[in-house]
Amino acid sequence: MNDNAQQIVRMQQLNKHFGSLHVLKNIDMHITPGEVVVVIGASGSGKSTLIRCINGLEEFQSGSLEVDGNELLPNGKSGQALQTIRTEVGMVFQQFNLFPHLSVIDNVTLAPMKVRGWNRSDALEAAKRLLDRVGIADQADKYPSQLSGGQQQRVALARALAMEPRLMLFDEPTSALDPEMIGEVLDAMRELAKEGMTMVIVTHEMGFAREVADRVVFIHQGEITEEGPPEQLFDKPRHERTQSFLARVLKH
């Protein structure tokens, strides 16, 4: 159904080991531009590790992985291709990982200036536009520690978007947030999905997954057990493991 050449992520038979632990087992994953893929699974199932392979924060030991036409090699031997991928792929982390010594605006302008070589005024203008878009334009001169968790995560989103990425990775973006702040972050992500951004999201927010995902991938013990459109995966899961996982997380 998808033309291989236009896929932004092509992952084939990917395997990852942590010492004797086999963390990812023969993962095949293809992502088409504009697609929103949500990865679900129990903690320790390997879902975070999987998306961290896409921008090379984790090495893999065998298989092939191509991101936006750049090939990542096993065992961290990718060199320049990895650098190129990272400038094209944005990431939002569970713990935000904002730079505490820089103001909000400087957090957002750092990479465009140092990596893309933009001058300060261009970077500032773009940063202000992005902060406005995620609803925190008035906090631009504050430091991250002066913001709430939800605000920090929205700054982190703006910071990643400032690089004009072709693909966005979200590693449990709301798991470290107080419940009342989850909504504002999900709203910003929803907005982004509507605009057509390609997104891979690891999350425990099943309602959100059902709503924004084009496809849901369920991982169990390092293997993709089942994947499909959200209606199918959530309402008519075929695998027993998917069923029992969903029964556990959807109960409350």
Partner: protein, 223 residues
């Protein structure tokens, strides 16, 4: 024999003009040595955390040797020992600065290593994920944060090194203690004069503490 000692405040006050010439030497040796030691510390501290083993071990050896031997032995080695090798004498001031440099350098290496390693892994990951190179991540993200955390232990080391210079009276540099010894040799007012020597050290170290506290407060924003 009756103890007939009576503290002579006048002698303490009178010693001031005789001790003052020692202060520039004390300051020059400590701050000159610390400035060089700072660069030595950054160099070996960063080697120490290199992923490459053959870069790490010279740093380990350096730290163990200069942290594990007394600074007095180090300065004697430099002042009396090295000339045998070089064939010409070494200026006592230079020897003092060199001793502070290599000695504080060893401690500062560990301060640098600890500071850099204390930065959460997520900072590096966020930098790399934005496309920054490893060098850029270090320069713009890791180092500025690590340096702030290094200020208190660096201040500590500065104060220790200032006091260590007092040992260099043994090689005849005209620093504070040496000036005191020379003066006492003619007045026999050891207690009175050493009190003033101690006060002068305290004035230097206390001033440094105040400056450092202000630096720290400034650096608190955004932490």
């Amino acid at each position: 024999m009756e103890p007939s000692f009576e503290f002579n405040w006048e002698a303490t006050i009178n010693s001031i003009p005789h001790l003052l010439p020692g202060i520039p030497y004390t300051l020059l040796i400590s701050f000159g040595g610390l400035a060089i030691g700072f660069f030595i510390g950054i160099f070996f501290g960063l080697l120490r955390i290199s992923p490459l083993r053959w870069l790490r071990w010279p740093a380990i050896v350096y730290v163990e040797v200069f942290r594990g031997t007394p600074i007095l032995v180090q300065v004697l080695f430099i002042f009396y020992g090295l000339p045998q090798l070089l064939g010409s004498p070494i200026n006592a001031l230079v020897a003092g600065i060199a001793a502070i440099a290599v000695n504080s350098g060893a401690y500062i290496s560990e301060i640098v290593r600890g500071g850099v390693q204390s930065i959460e892994r997520g900072q590096r990951e966020a930098s790399l994920s934005l496309g920054l190179s490893r060098t850029q991540a270090f320069r713009y993200v890791i180092w500025p944060q690590a340096f702030r955390r290094m200020i208190p232990p660096l201040g500590n080391q500065g104060i220790i090194s200032i006091k260590d210079t007092s040992l260099f009276s043994v090689i005849g540099v005209g620093e504070l203690v040496r000036q005191g010894q020379v003066y006492i040799a003619s007045t026999f007012t050891a207690m009175e004069v050493y009190l003033m020597v101690a006060i002068m050290y305290l004035a230097i170290t206390w001033s440094l503490s105040i400056i450092l506290r202000q630096l720290e407060n400034k650096g608190l924003v955004g932490q």
